[in-house]
């Protein structure tokens, strides 16, 4: 348990730092890299929680695809000729206030609700269980998500296409 807690601590620290990095860094590229760290850390946490399948999907989807998308996005929308301006707007303090308000609220209710509840780790979830669940109980959303992805794809293409 100690080991797990240590791992959690390390991952969590990395994620937290990276998260702050994403929202505070002055370099867009760095932000993308911080995002990688957060997502990878998330995958690590999933493993820690016995959700290996989700962890790998996370790695594949995020680190494999989404981050690439972001990088493309950054490159396509940045005019290399213009100098880097400040990446933040003037809503820093209100933004911070909102974030702190939410954080305080969430932390309070969570601590209030779960106090010292322990996670009793049983065996890691079998992927089969997940597929069973998806294809038995959640077949309809699954099918719809299929269409949705198609729609998102086509939509993105329609928008991004130069014509």
């Amino acid at each position: 348990m100690v080991a797990q807690n240590v791992v959690f601590g390390v991952l969590a620290a990395a994620m937290a730092v990276s998260a702050i990095g994403i929202v505070r860094t002055k370099n867009i590229m760095h932000a993308a890299l911080f995002l990688v760290v957060v997502q990878a850390g998330g995958a690590g946490q999933f493993i820690l929680l016995g959700a290996e399948f989700v962890a790998w999907v996370q790695v594949l989807v995020y680190i494999g695809a989404v981050i690439v998308l972001f990088l493309f996005g950054i490159m396509l929308t940045r005019d290399p000729m213009t100098a880097e301006e400040s990446l933040d707007n003037d809503l820093k303090w209100p933004g911070a206030a909102a974030a702190l308000l939410l954080a305080g609220l969430l932390a309070t209710v969570l601590i209030d609700a779960f106090e010292k509840e322990e996670i009793e780790l049983v065996a890691p979830t079998y992927t089969r269980a997940i597929t069973n669940s998806i294809f038995r109980s959640y077949i309809i959303p699954f099918e719809i998500v299929g269409l949705l992805l198609l729609a998102a794809l086509i939509g993105a293409v329609v928008l991004a296409r130069r014509d």
Binding site: N89, L91, G95, A97, A98, L101, L102, L105, T108
Partner: protein, 634 residues
């Protein structure tokens, strides 16, 4: 001396009625109640109306609205009769208002000139103020009956019976009586609502004679007589001492008479005289002299109509349509002998010259006041008599004696024939005018003999006093020579004072004679001093000078000022209400809401900044705040 009222079963009121309206499941009736009082009034109204009609055919000849004039005059007569024969208070109120309307129309007959319109408005408005009392009083009569019998009614007999039944609370009766008294004050020109009556002289003179002397203005007195039990019980008239009705009447007697002194307009003299005489009537009712008061009403109608028509005759043929005694009259005696003599008869009757109508009626009021516990008002009456005699003599002097002061026709706008024969000098009026004058003079002489206790005649009481639903303890004083003599002396003093003052050529003559006869300078000086003092200081300096002028000033500026002020004040209040409260306050609030609505709209629009991340901020802040509130509220 108290005499029980004699009950004669013979004279019962004649009642006829039909359903007028239905409310609350029962019928309210309209109908006639013809009894002695009504008959007396009908006689007065129809007689004088007839004479005035005849008179007007000449007086109003070639008037620009001849037809309107007679239409209104007839409507008035009809309304007055409606009032008189009403068998219920509500119907009486209808007639009451209608005569007010006719008065309005006739006062304002020459409405092209603003003062005439103003006078008409003032008359209507002032009497209408009194009508607050009538309105509420009539309403309360309904409930007076309801208290007594369980079923409300406006029926006059029922009201009177209820008032006498003892089943009705005194407070209600008193309130009813006071409310109705207010109506009397308004209609019958009692203090302090009397100021409209002199102004009402703006109307044609025959109208003044008919409406503002003989009939309409006595409607208040008639109301008092009609519902006498209500007043009798409500004001506790039987109790003696003083009561509101007597006090109002007494005040009016003095006030009216005092004001008559300082008028230069002959019609205004008569108008104030009317006020004063109406005061006698109201006072009479107030002191329990029902018969005397109604009798005075009766006689006054004739001699006052006579005087008014006489003044009209003077204006018509003698003074180029001016009523100003000091500027346009004087010395008319020789030009208009018939007018002069009828005027003198009227004056004598009015002032209570022995054996003329006013003598009998006025004396009876004073006698009753003396018999009952209202001694004070007897002296008030006597004081009034002195003043009446004095101002009437003054009036006659200024009009018919001295030099003729009429110059060019004064364009009073009275009527069109001014141009026609106004350039003639003063002359006697045609027969259509003098005829009615003589008829009325006849009445002025004879009317008094209907009720002359001195001669044992009490026909008036026999014929006209109600037999049912009437207070049983009313006083009918016997004739007392002492009282009569007092009254006569008082009147004569009045004559003498005025005579002495207004015949200045006579006075020095008188004095020189005394000089020559007595040769006693001291006595002469004393006498002269005495007389001078008396004439100059008491009469001139006292009555005519400060007192009367002050009274007049008070009248014009305070009382009338209050009335006009009420009118003006209402307009000012109206303007204030409208401009400040309504437009700024009430409407402003409404508009404020409208504007505020728009402003909030603007504010919400400003929230819609177009900045995406501001929206996001709002979203999260709202999530946070909502969440916080929910968590706290849970």
């Amino acid at each position: 001396m108290r005499l029980p009222t004699r009950r004669s079963p013979a004279v019962q009121p004649v009642l006829h009625g039909a359903t007028w309206w239905t409310n609350g499941g029962f019928d309210l009736r309209v109908g006639v109640q013809i009894d002695g009082l009504a008959v007396m009034m009908m006689f007065v109204v129809t007689t004088i109306s007839l004479l005035v009609h005849v008179y007007s055919t000449e007086y109003m000849r070639d008037d620009r609205r001849y037809t309107h004039y007679f239409a209104a005059l007839n409507l008035f007569t009809a309304s007055m009769l409606l009032l008189v024969v009403a068998d219920n208070t509500l119907q009486l109120l209808v007639g009451w208002e209608l005569v007010g309307l006719c008065s309005f129309l006739l006062i304002g007959h020459w409405w092209e000139e603003k003062p005439n319109g103003d006078a008409a408005l003032k008359a209507f408005f002032t009497t209408r103020t009194g009508d607050i009392g009538l309105l509420t009083g009539v309403i309360m009569t309904f409930f007076v009956v309801e208290r007594a019998t369980g079923q409300g009614s406006f029926d006059i007999m029922a009201v009177n019976e209820a008032a006498l039944s003892g089943k009705v609370g005194h407070t209600l009766l008193m309130m009813t009586a006071l409310a109705l008294l207010l109506a009397i004050i308004g209609k019958s020109g009692q203090f302090p609502l009397h100021t409209w009556l002199p102004d009402a002289m703006a109307g044609p003179t025959p109208v003044s004679a008919l409406i503002h002397a003989a009939t309409m203005v006595v409607a208040g007195v008639y109301l008092g007589a009609r519902l006498y039990p209500v007043f009798y019980e409500g004001l506790n008239i039987g109790g003696g001492g003083i009561n509101a009705m007597a006090a109002i009447g007494g005040t009016t007697v003095i006030i009216g008479a005092a004001l008559a002194f300082v008028q230069d307009d002959i019609k205004k003299v008569l108008a104030y005289s009317t006020i004063s005489q109406l005061g006698y009537m109201v006072m009479g009712l107030g002191v329990g002299a029902w018969t005397a008061a109604t009798f005075h009403l009766f006689t006054h109608a004739f001699f006052k109509a006579n005087l008014f028509l006489g003044s009209g005759s003077v204006a018509h043929s003698g003074s180029h349509h001016s009523f100003d005694m000091k500027k346009s009259m004087g010395g008319l005696k020789k030009y208009m002998p018939q007018t002069y003599w009828t005027f003198v008869i009227g004056t004598l009757a009015l002032t209570g010259f022995p054996m003329l109508a006013g003598f009998f009626s006025k004396d009876e009021i004073l006698a009753t006041a003396g018999e009952s516990d209202y001694q004070f008002f007897k002296y008030v009456g006597l004081a009034g008599a002195v003043m009446t005699a004095a101002y009437m003599v003054r009036c006659i002097y200024l009009t018919f004696f001295g030099e003729y002061r009429g110059g060019q026709p004064d364009v009073h706008g009275d009527d069109a024939h001014a141009v026609e024969h106004g350039h003639d000098g003063p002359h006697e009026s045609p027969r259509l005018i003098t005829g009615p004058l003589w008829v009325l003079s006849g009445f002025s002489i004879l009317a008094g003999y209907l009720n002359a206790p001195a001669f044992g005649i009490e026909k008036f009481k026999e014929w006209f006093e109600p037999r049912v639903a009437f207070p049983e303890t009313l006083i009918h004083p016997e004739f007392k020579m002492a009282d009569a003599a007092t009254a006569v002396v008082v009147v004569l003093i009045g004559y003498a004072l005025a005579y002495a003052y207004y015949w200045p050529k006579v006075l020095p003559q008188n004095l020189s004679e005394r000089n020559g006869l007595a040769r006693a300078g001291k006595t002469f000086l004393v006498n002269k001093y005495y007389l001078d003092h008396l004439y100059t200081n008491v009469v001139v300096g006292g009555i005519k000078g400060p007192v009367a002028r002050a009274a007049y000033w008070v009248n014009q500026n305070v009382i009338d000022g209050v009335l006009n002020g009420v009118g003006r004040g209402a307009r000012v209040a109206g303007k204030f209400t409208y401009a400040v409260i309504d437009q700024k306050g009430v409407d402003g609030a409404i508009n404020g809401i409208a504007v505020g609505t728009g402003e909030i709209g603007d504010a919400t629009r400003k929230l819609q900044t177009g900045r995406l991340q501001f929206y996001a901020l709002m979203l999260f802040i709202c999530v946070g705040l909502f969440g916080l509130a929910l968590w706290l509220g849970h």
